[in-house]
Amino acid sequence: MSNFTMLLSLQKIAGLLSLAGALLIVAVVIFLLKSATISEDKTTAKEKVYKLRSRYIWSIIIVAVVLLAYSFRSLPYSLMKAKADTEVSVVAYQWGWKMEKGIYNGKLDDFKGSNEIELPVNKSIKFIVTSIDVNHNFAIYNSDGVLVAQTQAMPQHKNNLQYRFKEKGEYKIFCLEYCGTAHDFMVGTIHIN
């Protein structure tokens, strides 16, 4: 995905793909609405459709295989154990974020972090994310409001999210997993200098 994402955000790629798919389906529906009123012997009509169908099935298999191979090239999982320039421990709670530089292995009750943190630009940052109570989702938004990275904050488990902030500025953390009454007010801030 990396070549495309230089030109378009992932959201735009998803939107364009889905729009193209929807338009194609609408075109097929319009064609069928019109063609159904014409009469043809059912055997010859079905033969034509089945001929097209076998081409379609082979095409979709090839497209699926190519897309799978291409999209598997850059997945977040390979970075779970990879080394990073800076590590940040993140503990989510109802309803806020605690962040602190370094790897924290102590009791979560004793974790002292802040909902704001300063991090360097253009360095690989590994967020080690967990939760002290229920499931949350650690989602990073840039200043334009684009969701740029996320991982779940699950109690009893640690998810490692690596991200490189390529631009200076203020990034916001929102919770993307419903976690109770004030779920929509769980905000954190990352200052990239």
Partner: protein
């Protein structure tokens, strides 16, 4: 093939009509809850968070529940009036059992404010809740009752069909794959009933196990389970149930569309391969819900994407091309029933396409838990399953002439489709603008663009819900007229 006598058909129809009327009462109530949510997100009303999240919970559980229940009831009706004897008394027993579950759930959510979302992601119902502990117990017990009713109903139907058609392997259509000439032929709806409902058995067993674990913890708070395992369980349960709702609905399209195109749609090797492949895909597709849980074994993440992509092949290549082969140059009338089936297929395809996009791990990291998710599943539920259900309802409520002119129903249909796609578009645009899902309002989002876009789109969505409700009212009026006509003609023929 057995002959079902007309008295039995009449009795089964009465049961189906009771299911239908119950569905028609609950459906707009649940839409109204959705509308209230969008009005709050659009800052038009000031519903508090506890009300919002209990509405959200009831809307999700209720919609998934009534759509699956009606899909099951429709298959019960078709099978029991055409191919197999199903126990009518047992059918009524299931109806009342499900009604008890529904009443319990309404009480738990509306009175008790039970609000952890449909998926009640463990351990949310036990930590920091705004609802009392009794509401959790009532709601969980109600869900168990519903699950037991569905499980019993499925097992009864599969058992009766297996007995009728010579065993489970015949129901799965495996006899078509050998070289024998004299094989037991099965109707397509029987094959699809089996393929759709057997994964439902697995889902309901896992779901019941999970709900019992919840119940145990609600009585004994010191208990604790692994959240990752619980998430796998709830997603397997929920995703599979919603997934098979669509496949059940496709079952009656296979059975009823040929009545309008006058072309047979029989089971053959391709159909058997396709539906057996779907059987496998249904069981593993849920894995795409856990992409952002990086601790989930990576092989399962890959499997999730491979299966999600693969499921599109039989669905489009066999079923949707099957519809094309049915209608292409068929010299047919586009009366309201086939029209709903065609548009239902389109809704399934459009929503399915957006789902495949979301099931791409690399894209999911930008779409997961944004409004893109409700966008795609509302598309194939509202513009897929719901249209299939209304197509079936128009079939059930119509007299002998299923192709009669129905200006009122058609006007309702077009307005409903227009309103629905407008409503759905707002979800898609929200997803593309990174607006989070399951927010009672967006005022806490400290980025102007996301906050304002989210609220503005919610306002537009509420407007479109108004449009789709107008369409729905017209369709209801048309159905009501048909029901009255049917009653009158039955009385006339009796006298």
């Amino acid at each position: 093939m057995i002959q079902i006598d007309s008295t039995e058909i009449k009795k089964q129809k009465k049961l189906a009509l009771t299911w239908a009327i119950t569905f028609l009462i609950l459906f707009p109530v649940l839409i109204t809850l959705g509308l209230l949510m969008r009005l709050r997100q659009g800052e038009i009303t000031e519903t508090g968070p506890s009300e919002f999240f209990s509405y959200m919970t009831l809307h999700g559980l209720g919609m998934a529940g009534i759509l699956f229940t009606f899909a099951f009831a429709a298959l019960w009706y078709l099978n029991s009036t055409r191919y197999v004897r199903l126990n009518l008394k047992f059918g009524w027993f299931l109806y009342f059992l499900i009604l008890i579950g529904v009443v319990g759930l309404l009480y738990g959510t509306l009175i008790g404010k039970f609000g952890p979302g449909w998926y009640m992601l463990y351990p949310l119902p036990f930590k920091g809740t705004f609802w009392p502990a009794w509401a959790t117990k009532v709601s969980v017990i109600s869900l168990i009752i519903l699950g037991v009713a569905w499980l019993l109903g499925i097992l009864h139907m599969i058992y009766a069909l297996a007995k009728q058609y010579g065993g489970l392997t015949n129901l799965l259509g495996w006899q078509y794959l050998g070289k024998k000439e004299n094989i037991t032929e099965i109707p397509s709806v029987v094959l699809i009933t089996t393929i759709s409902l057997i994964p439902g058995v697995f889902a309901l067993i896992i779901g019941a196990a999970m709900l019992i674990m919840y119940l145990l913890q609600s009585f004994e708070p010191s208990l604790a389970f692994d959240p990752l395992m619980m998430k796998n369980m709830v997603m397997f349960f929920g995703h599979t149930l919603v997934n098979i709702t669509m496949y059940c609905a496709v079952g009656w399209v296979y059975a009823l569309l040929p009545e309008f195109t006058h072309r047979e749609w029989k089971v053959n090797k391709a159909v058997v391969y396709s539906w057996n492949a779907s059987f496998f895909f249904i069981l593993f597709a849920y894995l795409h819900h856990l992409y952002m849980d990086f601790v989930q074994p990576t092989s399962l993440q890959y499997l999730g994407q491979v299966v999600s992509y693969s499921s599109a092949i039989p669905a489009t290549g066999i079923t949707m091309f099957g519809v094309i082969a049915q209608v292409y140059h068929a010299k047919m009338k586009w009366s309201i029933i086939p029209l709903m089936f065609l548009f239902g297929m389109a809704g399934w395809a459009i929503g399915g396409f957006a789902a495949v996009v979301d099931s791409t791990i690399a894209l999911n990291s930008s779409l997961h838990n944004t409004l893109w998710v409700p966008a795609h599943f509302h598309t194939y539920m509202l513009m897929g399953v719901v249209l299939f259900i209304f197509g079936f309802l128009f079939y059930l409520f119509s007299g002998k002439d299923k192709e009669e002119k129905d200006g009122l129903g058609k006007a309702g249909f077009w307005i409903f489709v227009l309103g629905s796609y407008g409503f759905l578009l707002m979800f898609y645009l929200g997803g593309l603008n990174s607006v989070p899902r399951r927010y009672s309002n967006y005022s806490g989002l400290e980025i102007d663009h996301v906050r304002e876009t989210g609220a503005h789109l919610a306002q537009c969505a509420a407007l479109f819900v108004g449009v789709l409700l107008v369409g729905l009212i017209l369709m209801y009026l048309s159905l009501f007229c048909k029901l009255i006509q049917q009653k009158v003609s039955t009385k006339e023929s009796n006298s």
